[in-house]
């Protein structure tokens, strides 16, 4: 099979741009797709061509299989890269792509199907000898859920069998919360995945989330590319990821890596995938959580420590190439951290913040990488995930990487929407983080206890007030006020500022 000539990217935002970058380096043309809301988005501007596929609502555009395949045919693309989210783990999309005589850059529909169902995959993993979290699959009545919860003991987790990304998932601390949790998880599951089945399992509150990147070609060669520690989470969604994990010993890393490869082999996996485990730091027991049958948001930390370009390799193995490295040839070098810059307000329950980006300045420097989908003037809408950018750093060891990240976050300027940048700064300086003791419920608990800088109590410093007042002085300058009368924003006459210094 020869290399693709043109790839359609069935996604938007930073990941679409990341994939286009890899295509460009491999000398492959790119096709962007976009909804009404993304007409002026960066990913549309950076593609070789762009196809409009529908209304802003994802169902009308980025989740519309027929329109995506039509766009691929119309643009004469020979492959589709799904990115993450949207249709990336939808087996019927993968199958539809194949029957439309297009290549799918990812695993087979069968692998996606086998791992996509949280209940089925758990059963398959038990059979393959991979440790799983105690719990039950296939329950229906509330009575059965109640019985199961009593047996495995609260807190428990009810989650969508078809789920992922924290959607359709509820923590239940005691029996009184069970009924509403089941109902709302079902509703969210039906809404997000069109499938309301739930499973129940023990909720390990103080566990680390550690996942292993696996990578295979279509010739039965598969390896793992080490772990990513993703325990800094809010609402079951990751905010900060790093590799290597400060928790793992070399022996446990080896054992979990082998388990990850075993899990992937059990579903005849190829292309990039991730086996998620939770690890109890008290017992150092690990349990299979789920497999993500796609490229992860946090793939850059693995790229920076292994030296591999995962997206390029995804494309190359999808075109039939052999993945040339054996497990023994692969090593981790240095330390990498990723911070997800979200348009969300930590002081307002991490709820999304929307608006126009008035200023957007990314940090630069040795060892700093920014994967982003926005620029100054971009609109952040409520239609899509509030991820603005991923800030990734790598350095010779963990301490140096933390220091580099702190400096880089300070240089990341975003005005117009509230972001979690300041919040991540306080996480990075917290001793629990520097000591590698963060577990998945740490953000929630630490915010409640008040030992993490409480964002609600953040007061304007005198410096902030002085700066705002000085900036405002420019508009009362009589010389500039006339010229500026017709400006769309009368408060930004920066070009006039020299006038008021005399």
């Amino acid at each position: 099979m020869s290399m693709f000539k043109k790839i359609l990217i069935a996604n938007r935002g930073e990941i679409a741009i990341r994939i286009m970058r890899a295509c460009k380096e491999l000398d492959i043309k790119t096709v962007a797709v976009y909804s009404d809301a993304d007409k002026n988005s960066l990913h549309v501007q950076q593609a070789d061509e762009a196809m409009h596929i529908g209304a802003a609502s994802p169902k009308e555009s980025y989740l519309n299989v027929d329109k995506l395949i039509q766009a691929a045919h119309a643009s004469k693309a020979d492959a589709i890269h799904p990115g993450y989210g949207f249709l990336s783990e939808n087996a019927s999309f993968t199958a539809a792509v194949a029957s439309a005589q297009l290549a799918f850059i990812g695993p087979s529909a069968d692998s996606i199907r086998a791992m996509g169902d949280k209940a089925e995959s758990k059963i398959a993993m038990k059979k393959a000898g991979v440790p799983t979290v105690p719990g039950y699959e296939g329950l229906e009545s509330e009575t059965d859920f109640k019985k199961a919860a009593d047996e495995i003991e609260y807190p428990v987790l009810v989650k969508a069998s078809a789920g992922g990304g924290g959607k359709g998932m509820r923590v239940v601390n005691n029996e009184s919360e069970l009924s509403e949790a089941i109902e709302s998880a079902r509703r969210e599951a039906l809404n997000s995945f069109g499938d309301e089945r739930l499973l129940i399992e023990k909720y390990l509150a103080d566990a680390h989330h550690i996942e292993f990147q696996v990578f295979g070609d279509q010739h039965r060669h598969i390896v793992h590319l080490f772990e990513r520690e993703c325990s800094v989470q809010r609402r079951h969604q990751k905010i900060i990821e790093e590799t290597p994990s400060p928790l793992l010993t070399p022996a446990l890393r080896k054992e979990m890596g082998e388990a990850a490869v075993k899990a992937a082999k059990a579903v005849n996996y190829y292309n990039a995938g991730t086996i998620e485990f939770i690890v109890d730091p008290d017992t150092m027991q690990y349990y299979f959580l789920e497999m993500n049958t796609r490229l992860q948001v946090e793939h850059p930390v693995t790229e920076l420590t292994t030296g591999l370009d995962l997206v390029q390799w995804q494309i190359r193995v999808a075109a039939g190439e052999h993945f040339p490295y054996t497990q023994e040839q692969l090593t981790q070098r240095g330390h990498a951290i990723e911070c997800r810059v979200y348009a969300e307000d930590p002081a307002n329950g991490f709820l999304p913040s929307t608006g126009k980006l008035l200023q957007y300045i990314e940090p630069k420097g040795p060892g700093i990488r920014v994967d982003s989908g926005f620029t100054a003037g971009s609109d952040v809408t409520h239609f899509y995930d509030p991820l603005l950018a991923k800030l990734i750093v790598n350095a010779e060891n963990r301490d140096a990487a933390i220091q580099k990240m702190q400096a880089a976050l300070k240089d990341f300027i975003v005005h117009g929407v509230v972001t979690n940048i300041d919040f991540m700064q306080s996480v990075l300086t917290h001793e629990d983080f520097t000591n590698g003791r963060v577990t998945t419920r740490w953000v929630e608990k630490t915010l409640d206890s008040g030992s993490l800088l409480p964002p609600t109590q953040k007061r304007a410093s005198a410096l902030h007030i002085i700066t705002a007042a000085l900036a405002d002085l420019t508009i009362v300058n009589p010389k500039s006020s006339i010229e500026n009368r017709n400006e769309p924003d009368p408060y930004s006459p920066w070009k006039q500022i020299n006038g008021f210094r005399n």
Binding site: Q359, Y384, D422, H464, S492
Partner: protein
């Protein structure tokens, strides 16, 4: 010249090339070295500070020392009148879509009861009653798109 941001009054007095700035009981000398495209390079009591400022109506986004804040400039002497008594109006905490309205007008409600469910960025947000009361007025319908801070329900 006096300005108010977020209830804090600042007084700026021109002094030759620089300004004397007073905020609360703090007084400093500030000189603007450079100001371009929303970036201000300042000398504050001789110390170099780089700040970033953007404005949107009365809002000022300010970043100093890696800390970003959104300040609101007070408009004149009189505060903006509020159309709704904050105690009785429930507002949208985020922009999004009204997924369901679970109550009707005149319905008696209990503290913690879910009155409405909003959805945005594929997340579900429950609007709950802050206290026992009565639904006085429903201002939005199922399927409607709402803005942040938009009043959804009035209760009494």
């Amino acid at each position: 010249m006096k300005t108010t941001f977020d209830q804090t009054i600042i007084d700026l007095i021109p002094q030759g090339k620089s300004y004397r700035a007073t905020v609360g009981d703090q007084t400093v000398d500030v000189e603007i070295i450079r100001a371009k495209d929303g970036q201000l390079d300042l000398l504050i009591d001789g110390e170099r500070v780089t700040a970033y400022v953007s404005s949107d109506g009365a809002k000022r986004w300010v970043t100093v020392n890696g800390q970003t804040l959104m300040l609101t400039k007070a408009s004149g002497a009189k505060r903006r009148g509020s159309g709704h008594d904050q105690g009785s109006a429930l507002v949208a905490p985020m922009p999004g879509l009204v997924r369901s309205v679970n109550v009707v007008e005149e319905e008696t409600i209990m503290k913690g009861q879910t009155l409405m469910v909003l959805e945005a960025m594929k997340m579900e947000i429950r609007i709950q009653a802050p206290r026992d009361g009565l639904v006085k007025k429903l201002l939005v319908k199922q399927g409607q798109t709402v803005e942040r801070e938009q009043v959804l329900i009035e209760i009494e």
